[in-house]
């Protein structure tokens, strides 16, 4: 049994997770990396992707994260993500529908500012779709 360490997942709105974990796989901007107890102190930015947490009870949970950074230190691992959603809440067909709507928004946008906003929303959804698809 691997040793457990303290793991926190924080989004701007709230603290999503604060518990013991045996292993966390973080989608770092320069590649995925796994963190286990006693990891060397490091800091990395995130790319949009799936973060996997393994608990001491052997159960696993996955989150879609976007934007932010992970900090591994003597106290454990802290992930600050601008957006963090449990993968269980993401449904492929829901996202596909939202993507279609977003594409319409982009097409219908009347000025540059709103088109840009719609495009950003669309890109975010696409990233999400990719993460769900590869899961």
């Amino acid at each position: 049994m691997a040793e457990a360490f303290q793991f926190e997942l924080v989004s701007p709105e709230r603290l999503l997770l604060s518990e013991e974990a045996t292993q966390v796989v973080v989608p770092g901007s320069e590649g995925e990396f796994g963190v286990m107890a006693g990891h060397a102190p490091m800091m990395s930015t995130l790319r949009p992707g799936v973060l996997r947490v393994s608990r001491p009870s052997a159960s696993e949970e996955a989150f879609f994260v976007r934007g932010g950074f992970a900090e591994a230190g003597p106290k454990g691992l802290t992930v600050l993500a601008e957006l963090a959603v449990p993968m269980a809440d993401l449904k492929a067909d829901d996202i596909a529908r939202q993507i279609r709507e977003a594409e319409e928004d982009v097409a219908d946008a009347s000025d540059d500012a709103s088109r840009m906003r719609a495009q950003i929303a669309l890109d975010h959804l696409r990233e999400m779709e990719q993460a769900v698809g590869s899961n």
């Binding site: 989004s11 102190p41 990395s44 930015t45 950074f69 900090e71 601008e82």
Partner: protein, 294 residues
């Protein structure tokens, strides 16, 4: 001396007002709890962010290649004041005190020969500032349709501010909001966003820690990515603190109003009863003196 009927009407009207203020107080109390929870839930993120940035920033102190958002662009001529207030009134001195702080800052800056630009977030701040500083207001963002402030709302403002900075429209940016201390105490606060300052970041990381950290990608890139994000995060925190403060201020203002209405009702009822009694006495005297005359 008002007549009995007038007094009765006044009592009824004050009672109706009291009912409204009482209801508003209870609504504010319920909203306050939610707003306070939201503000507290957002704290860990903003605090970690600040601690990490403060840590990274020390590595760049005095270096020429420090990002502009951290070091500023070397000028101090054009100031952008982001004034965050509420969308609604009836919350005591809440809006007025934020506007006052911003106005004082704007006046000092103008007196020093600087250019001032104001970005209003919330209608009440705009209403209050437009009278004497109207020509300095560059934009007003209304959050009236927003029930609960989400990170996206703050991010939109953050993106706008960053864009203005990149376009060279201002040199220094300060955010004005009200820090929530307790229900009866909200402190209007000015926080400098650009160049970034970390005065309230606690040095919670153990000493010498920065030396052992490994950065991926390197410090510069992390800093370049986090600094813009930090602006949105700080604005978000400001908005949440503001939301909690607004409800707190409204709650105590409405509590006062309810109490005042109660006192007024007591006073009016007293004079109503006195007058009624005086009238009865007068009528009795008339009857008795009439009977004696017979």
């Amino acid at each position: 001396m008002p007549s009995l009927k007038e007094l009765r009407n006044r009592i009824a009207s004050v009672k109706a007002t009291q009912k409204i203020t009482k209801a508003m107080q209870m609504v504010a109390a319920a909203k306050l709890r939610r707003a306070q929870e939201a503000a507290e839930a957002a704290r860990p993120y903003a605090e970690r962010m600040e601690a990490v940035l403060a840590n990274l920033a020390t590595a760049f102190e005095g270096r020429d290649d420090a990002p502009l958002l951290l070091a500023g662009n070397g000028k101090d001529d054009v100031h952008l004041l982001v004034v965050a207030t509420a969308e609604r009134g009836l919350c005591g001195g809440f809006n007025a005190s934020i506007a006052k702080l911003a106005r004082e800052r704007a006046k000092t800056l103008l007196a020093a020969g600087k250019t001032v630009k104001i970005l209003c977030v919330g209608k009440k701040g705009f209403d209050s500032l437009k009278r004497d500083l109207g020509k300095h207001i560059v934009k007003t963002i209304e959050l009236r349709h927003v029930k609960r402030v989400a990170f996206e709302n703050a991010d939109e403002i953050g993106i706008l501010v960053r864009q203005m900075f990149d376009d060279g429209e201002f040199d220094v940016c300060t955010l004005f909001y009200s820090r929530f201390r307790s229900v009866i105490s909200q402190v209007p606060t000015a926080q400098q966003l650009i160049p970034a300052t970390f005065e309230n970041a606690e040095a919670e990381l153990p000493e010498g820690n920065e030396a052992v950290y490994e950065y991926e990608p390197d410090e510069g890139e992390i800093l370049a990515e986090l600094l813009p994000r930090n602006i949105s995060v700080q604005i978000f925190r400001g908005l949440l603190e503001n939301a909690a403060s607004e409800q707190g201020a409204r709650m105590s203002a409405m509590d006062n109003a309810t109490r005042n209405a109660g006192e007024m009702i007591d006073k009016l009822t007293l004079s109503y009863n006195r007058q009624r009694q005086a009238q009865i006495t007068k009528e009795l005297i008339e009857i008795i003196s009439g009977a004696e005359a017979l």
